[in-house]
Symmetry: C2
Subunit: 178 residues, 2 copies
């Protein structure tokens, strides 16, 4: 542990494009077409036909679901640059889905090899002692006293009460240039 | 998350008897007999013959190593009682060994089924925002500002600068009766 300012960075919808994976598997398996535009202010599963409403849990419980997610554009370079200035922790609420643990570990090792294992946290509630948190879920900001950066994701488009970053270029603007 | 006082409880040597497993596997595989008495103030691997010195890493990297550890005496009932009074988090530095993740998850589910997944944290550095930490490793107390309870384990027998608990009955005395 260093004396640097600590940042907690979420994985799903922030480093990893989980929604893209949902769109692909529902198109492939159920011929259901859901677009990002339809999702504004909604969770992906809210747009599914009733009979498929809970099926997203089966997908995320499958081994491999989280292993081949696309990397969010620009995230690798910006996180690498953040590591030079800050003490960067990757903090994922992975514990809800046991089969995600190893997939997420391997995914980070492949795409963010410069993140040391000491800086990875898989949890439920994000009770981390960091100064900044970048997350797309406002529930993770509850009870958190640091600076909260809401990373834009379709489901949070209608939320207005937090400092927002729309993409990794905006994270760089806020945290690497100020 | 509740308004209760939060406690972080370690797994290895605190809830799970990792040393017992080392003693058993080295006796079985290498006919090396190491006793708890020999270990006072030392790490288990320091007592191994030179040629086996690093072999403990191979064991802990094996799938299954952490799955059948014995439960530390009294821990289940005391942790259950703590959960009624405190917001209890199980915090393990599991991230060093990828294959330990699922084993530790399953072990907790079997022996501590009353711990919700939201209250499990697998990490490297323990940067948790809790009021109390129960741990056998003083390195986890570095930079931690809460109350530190050093859980006795042979390797820490010579450490004197922390409040110490020798067993789960003493944890109960300190945290359930005061």
């Amino acid at each position: 542990m260093t004396g640097k300012i600590r940042i907690a960075i979420d994985m799903d919808e922030v480093l990893a494009d989980t929604i893209d994976k949902f769109i692909v598997v529902y198109q492939r398996d159920h011929k259901v077409d859901i677009t990002l535009e339809q999702m504004h202010g909604k969770e992906f599963h809210e747009l599914l036909p009733d009979k498929l409403n809970d099926s997203w849990r089966d997908y995320v419980n499958q081994k491999g679901f989280f292993r081949d997610l696309k990397v969010m554009p620009g995230s690798q370079q910006v996180v690498k640059d953040l590591c030079a200035k800050y003490d960067v922790y990757i903090v994922s609420a992975a514990m809800e889905f046991k089969n995600s643990l190893v997939d997420k570990y391997d995914w980070l090792e492949e795409h963010f090899p410069f993140i040391h294992w000491k800086n990875i946290i898989f949890c439920g509630n994000k009770i981390v002692d960091t100064h900044i948190m970048i997350d797309d879920r406002i529930r993770n900001f509850a009870g958190y006293n640091g600076r909260k950066l809401l990373f834009s994701s379709p489901h949070n488009f209608l939320v207005s009460e937090y400092e927002r970053v729309n993409n990794w270029a905006e994270v760089a603007d806020k945290l690497l240039r100020e």
